[in-house]
Symmetry: none
Subunit: 226 residues, 2 copies
DNA sequence: CACTTAACTTAAAATAACCTTAAAAGCATG
DNA sequence: CATGCTTTTAAGGTTATTTTAAGTTAAGTG
């Protein structure tokens, strides 16, 4: 997952890069329209985050050029103000989404994920992380502070689900639906078994992450110091 | 935090209401444009979730009417397809955000929270609270002025019921019906036992909330200075 | 004030949820 | 078709929660 950020405000640009990298995306950036356009035309990116107001070449022009070259990478426009005009022009020119400054991290990340879903592709970061562990869903490897280990498909899916839903308690029903499908006859014990497998592997990589069972409700990840 | 959902697909509508309620929002809903508009014009909502395709009056018309009445409640549009046209029309008409079906819970919740932040207000779920306590029904944790503690399922349901019905005296029969179901053979003593459990936990978090027994009638919460 | 009844509290029993492990079954690969 | 790996099944053990039950306290009533 490669993201290109084109934004001339240096501080904002760096902040964006840092945030995205933190979430395990691969990120490049430009601070002017000219080099931004060059990079965008390379066609190697999965998402472009594009400011409208840019030195040398403005965002809308870049967007039009990209599209006229037949590159249909998802583009998220950054509009300086709450200017409907920019939005409309941007969407007309082939943008997939816009974001009004100031915006926050969560929102940007949500939109990037949403873009992936909308196109039916999966624009996901290659690795998820939580506390002292990191999960590479591509290679299905779990890395902790004391080594790494490979997971089976179901283990990986379960941990992925728990990390993505780290803020809520994931019920067994939800987990079953996700891992075995909506009308499977999988039982609660399936989940319990995999939770048990995962806990063992978490210990194996010396992570201090715990899978907390909330009786009658579901499971929730917990970091060491909580 | 009051949310209005206007959506004609009954199943989707109910699902939305349930999900939002589960996250401690107060939710009303309509399944056609006419009653939807009526409710929206009341101006009491903090967010409106509005489907575009609706019987009687379509979403865009509703949106325009709302705005022409000077109500600037945040509106999230639900667009049936990936139709840029709908988005642009919607944004022109004064929508704050849109969501393309199908979408998932997380995304909707994120957008609702994001809307609040963007406007600088705090559109947060009412973490069910009363006096000096606050109850998170998601994690089943009770927080008081001197720490927090986890509740069991029944304890949580009981306290939730008491808080929601804080203005009236909750009878044991009502409580039994809510916690154990309509035709259970649960007895009055069950309620008494759980009231006792709760009182102990309220003391544990140093709350000054009291569960008042009204002889022959039921229970009612009371704040410290009452 | 004595009596009755409702409510309170607590401990112990029963139940249901969850955990773990081992073994069987399924599946792909060489 | 044998091997190794993943997934499912199943059983027994552990613990948290719910229910039962019994003794105690408090409130209302004549």
């Amino acid at each position: 997952m490669r993201i290109l950020v084109i934004e001339d405000e240096v501080r904002l640009c760096e902040a964006l890069v840092q945030i995205l990298k933190k979430h395990n995306y691969t990120v490049d950036s430009d601070t002017d329209g000219e080099s931004g356009l060059d990079d965008a035309l390379s066609g190697i990116y999965d998402v472009v985050v594009l400011d409208i107001m840019l030195p040398k070449i403005d965002g809308i022009t870049i967007l039009k050029k990209i599209r006229s070259e037949g590159i249909d990478v998802p583009v998220i426009l950054l509009t300086a103000k709450d200017s409907i005009h920019d939005k409309v022009t941007g969407l007309d020119s082939g943008a997939d989404d816009y974001l009004t400054k100031p915006f926050n991290t969560e929102e940007l990340l949500a939109r990037i994920r949403a873009l992936g879903r909308r196109r039916g592709e999966i624009i996901e970061p290659d690795a998820l992380s939580f506390g002292d562990i990191s999960l590479d869903t591509q290679t299905m490897r779990l890395t902790g502070r004391g080594g790494d280990i490979s997971l089976t498909l179901k283990e990986c899916e379960l941990l992925e689900y728990l990390i993505i839903h780290k803020d809520v308690i994931a019920s067994k029903e939800q987990i079953i639906e996700k891992l075995w499908g909506f009308d499977s006859d999988a039982e609660a014990n399936h989940v319990e078994v995999y939770v048990s497998f995962l806990r063992k592997k978490l210990r194996h990589v010396h992570s201090d992450i715990k899978i907390n069972a909330v009786r009658g409700v579901g499971y929730k990840l917990r970091k060491g110091g909580e």
